[in-house]
């Protein structure tokens, strides 16, 4: 019995170590890019732990574009932003907030269409067992979970809301922390680690569809006005043909059977070319909060 216990302890410790190491090492893994590949950066906006989906999507893109495609995944928006601003990525799927901050250095390729419109909202959520809290203002002195300091829905919007309530966002909550992914904000609020959180409404609704167990543990108390959905952008010096090629591919997705299936997995209707003005709302908020 002794030995069994001990081996089990070792096993469990090993698996624990492994997961700890993986968490620490992920952002450091070198990207294996071939010469001439299309380099696409992905943020943890929504795609998390969906390797099989990404493989399918990449294969589909490669077929459409007739060239190899490499996805770059990073743990935070900032890292992806640094890469594309430094010209190390050709394209990236990012959030509206970093887009408005670096609008001059990026070119808008496409905007997702969700429920028929290129918009989404930020949701303010609290644990489902908290039946009292009805607004952000009631979370004073509580613990709050943001997704990413460069996220619109998961950071900028709640900051803006607090500022417009006349509160100092830095001191309003007793503690706040970042989970670096929207899905994890839902988890953090669901288990009660945070008393409230800000999450991408599109992610919350998609999770409600595929992982209702996660969203059931939370309750949405506030929905923001519409914001331009997470844009697909290109580095500013991207050749026009390449940009057109990718935009075409994205816009054509609903027409293609495999593309349509991939869109269904993303819960999206498709992509539109979109106008930078879509994100003016975000830009105004950023200005108000003083982060531009």
């Amino acid at each position: 019995m002794n030995n069994d216990d001990r081996s089990q302890v070792l096993l469990r410790r090993r698996s624990f170590l492994r997961s700890a190491l993986v968490a620490a090492a992920l952002p450091l893994l070198p990207a294996r890019a071939e010469q001439g590949s299309l380099r696409v950066g992905l943020t943890p906006v929504f795609l998390d732990d969906q390797m099989s989906f990404l493989t399918r999507w990449r294969t589909w893109l490669e077929r459409r574009l007739q060239r190899s495609v490499v996805f770059f995944q990073r743990g935070s928006y900032r890292e992806v932003m640094d890469l594309i601003r430094g010209g190390k990525l050709d394209f990236a799927w990012i959030c509206g907030y970093p887009y408005v901050r670096y609008r001059n250095e990026l070119r808008l390729v496409a905007v997702p269409v969700w429920r028929g419109r290129p918009y989404y909202q930020s949701y303010l959520i609290v644990p489902a067992d908290d039946r009292k809290t009805g607004s952000l203002a009631e979370l004073r002195g509580k613990v709050f979970a943001y997704s990413d300091p460069d996220s619109n829905s998961g950071f900028l919007y709640p900051q803006f809301r607090l500022a417009s309530l006349g509160e100092n966002p830095a001191t309003f909550f007793s503690r706040s922390f970042f989970t670096w992914a929207h899905r994890k904000v839902v988890e953090a609020v669901g288990v009660g680690l945070a008393d409230g959180g800000a999450v991408d409404g599109y992610v919350w609704d998609t999770l409600a569809e595929f992982h209702p167990d996660l969203t059931k543990a939370t309750r949405v108390i506030e929905r923001s006005p519409d914001f331009g959905h997470t844009p697909f952008v290109a580095r500013h010096d991207i050749p026009a043909a390449e940009m057109q090629q990718l935009r075409r591919a994205l816009l054509d997705m609903p027409a293609d059977p495999e593309g349509a299936q991939l869109l269904r997995l993303l819960s999206l209707d498709g992509f539109v070319a979109g106008q930078p003005a879509l994100f003016d709302g975000i830009a105004r908020m950023a200005k108000r909060v003083g982060k531009v």
Partner: protein
């Protein structure tokens, strides 16, 4: 307890052995369970310590960077929701800062960020007191008194500065199912062992008690049923019980001898009384008898010869003669002068008995015929042997055998007469030598009485052994060798 004391050894010994076996089994089981429990505790403790150490090392960076979510994820990855050994699962894992406020915990609802675990009260309040007591940079196991929890604390140290603690809280209650399982398994093993051992122990315990029981059974028959005491059943071993059995056998043997002696003594006292009585009667009868016979003789010699009277006197004389013979037989008297018993007397005796023996086809055998005369009165000895021989021939089966044995040595004549007929019943044996005690229709029943009287007068002894197919009369008479 009196009822227990009175219980037969048949049950007492096995029951005591059972109690001893059960007690041993229980003690061994308890010892094993205690040992297992200790091991389980140690196991858990070492597991918890190493887990706490690993967590403390891993959590330094998230704590330094204030990355609550990363810290939470690390705590979660340390949990195994489908653990095989649930008691190895910490009830709560928490990271506290230097002021003992929760940085993050695996149960955020109970231990929310920024709150003090003492808020939970009880064990956690005492935990804080215990934490504050010791050195903040040392790993410790803290078990507050009367606590249902115990804690393993590992310090979070960066550059020698204690940032806070990683605290693993274990509920002792989660031990209970495992402990019950442990006790259950031990009980099953003990029961199996008992199933094997108990019947064997019972058998040996019964075996140990059996000789004692046999002894007790035999003792219950003493002194009432000495004859039927089952001595062969007694233990024959050399241990204490065997010695007791031997002693008991000796005791019964001596008791039997004593009983026989008493019976013999009573018989000879009775015979002596009968002898005195018959001697007295014989004297009282002999005196008038002599007068009457003399009177008849005188009348014959000097009477008038009346034929009726003569006939009457003749009838009287025959009757009186018969009385005299009977009285003479009752009152055996040694004649002062008699010749010595010679070997030829034996031939005479055989001739005398021969007719009777021939009639019943009984074979006579003589052993140890004396070569020289013995200085014993021939008439009396002849009467003894004749009476015994006649009895023996009569008692022998048709076509059977009668043996006469003589042995004269060291001034003692040993005489034995033996027949192979039916044995003498016990009831008759007690009165064998008394006058008129004969069971036979023939004879007056004075034969053995006469033998007895003569042997007594010759200062001899007489014994009878009778069993089916062999009845032996033995007589010993001392004689003067000079």
């Amino acid at each position: 307890m009196i009822a227990l004391d009175d219980l037969s050894l048949r049950w007492k010994i096995p029951l005591r052995v059972m109690v001893a076996v059960l007690g041993t089994a229980l003690a061994v089981t308890a010892a094993l369970v205690t040992r297992e429990y200790d091991e389980m505790r140690q196991n858990l403790e070492s597991h918890a310590k190493s887990l706490a150490r690993v967590l403390a090392n891993t959590l330094v960076s998230p704590v330094l960077h204030d990355d609550i979510w990363r810290a939470y994820e690390i705590l979660q990855s340390a949990r195994d929701p489908a653990a095989i050994a649930p008691e190895l699962q910490a009830d709560v894992v928490m990271v506290t800062d230097a002021e003992f406020r929760v940085f993050v915990s695996s149960r955020p609802r109970d231990f929310p960020i920024g709150a003090s675990p003492s808020r939970q009260g009880g064990d956690y309040a005492r935990l804080r007191a215990a934490l504050m007591d010791g050195k903040p940079t040392e790993q410790r196991v803290i078990e507050p008194a009367d606590s249902v929890h115990y804690f393993v604390m590992s310090p979070l140290v960066a550059d020698g500065v204690a940032l806070g603690h990683v605290i693993l809280g274990y509920s002792k209650i989660s031990f209970v199912p495992r402990f019950i399982g442990l006790v259950g398994r031990a009980a099953v093993v003990t029961l199996l062992v008992l199933l094997l051992i108990l019947p064997v122990s019972w058998y040996f315990a019964r075996k140990t008690g059996e000789p004692l029981l046999a002894l007790a059974d035999a003792m219950r028959q003493v002194p009432g049923e000495l004859g039927s005491a089952r001595l062969p059943d007694l233990p024959h071993s050399r241990d204490e019980i065997g010695q007791l059995g031997d002693a008991f056998r000796r005791m019964v043997g001596e008791l039997r001898e004593k009983q026989e002696l008493e019976e013999q003594m009573i018989a000879s006292q009775r015979l002596a009384a009968v002898g005195r009585l018959s001697a007295g009667i014989a004297h009282e009868i002999n005196n008038p008898l002599g007068g009457m016979l003399t009177a008849i003789t005188t009348y014959r010699r000097h009477g008038n010869g009346d034929p009726l009277a003569l006939e009457t006197f003749s009838l009287l004389e025959r009757g009186l003669d018969q009385i005299r013979n009977t009285v003479a037989a009752l009152l055996v008297e040694t004649k002062a002068k008699d010749r010595a018993f010679a070997p030829t007397d034996i031939d005479d005796l055989l001739i005398l008995v021969d007719a009777e023996a021939g009639a019943r086809a009984v074979t006579l055998q003589v052993a140890g015929r004396p070569q020289a005369p013995l200085p014993l009165p021939a008439t009396l000895l002849r009467q003894i042997v004749l009476n015994l021989l006649l009895n023996a021939v009569a008692a022998a089966d048709r076509g059977g055998k009668v043996r006469v044995g003589f042995e004269a040595k060291n001034g003692l004549l040993r005489l034995s007469v033996c027949n192979d007929g039916a044995h003498i019943p016990d009831a008759q044996m007690a009165h064998l030598f008394e006058p008129f005690a004969s069971s036979r229709e023939k004879g007056h029943g004075l034969g053995l009485w006469v033998v007895y009287q003569i042997v007594k007068q010759l200062n001899g002894g007489l014994t009878v052994d009778s069993e089916p197919g062999n009845t032996t009369f033995r007589i010993e008479i001392p004689y003067d060798q000079a």
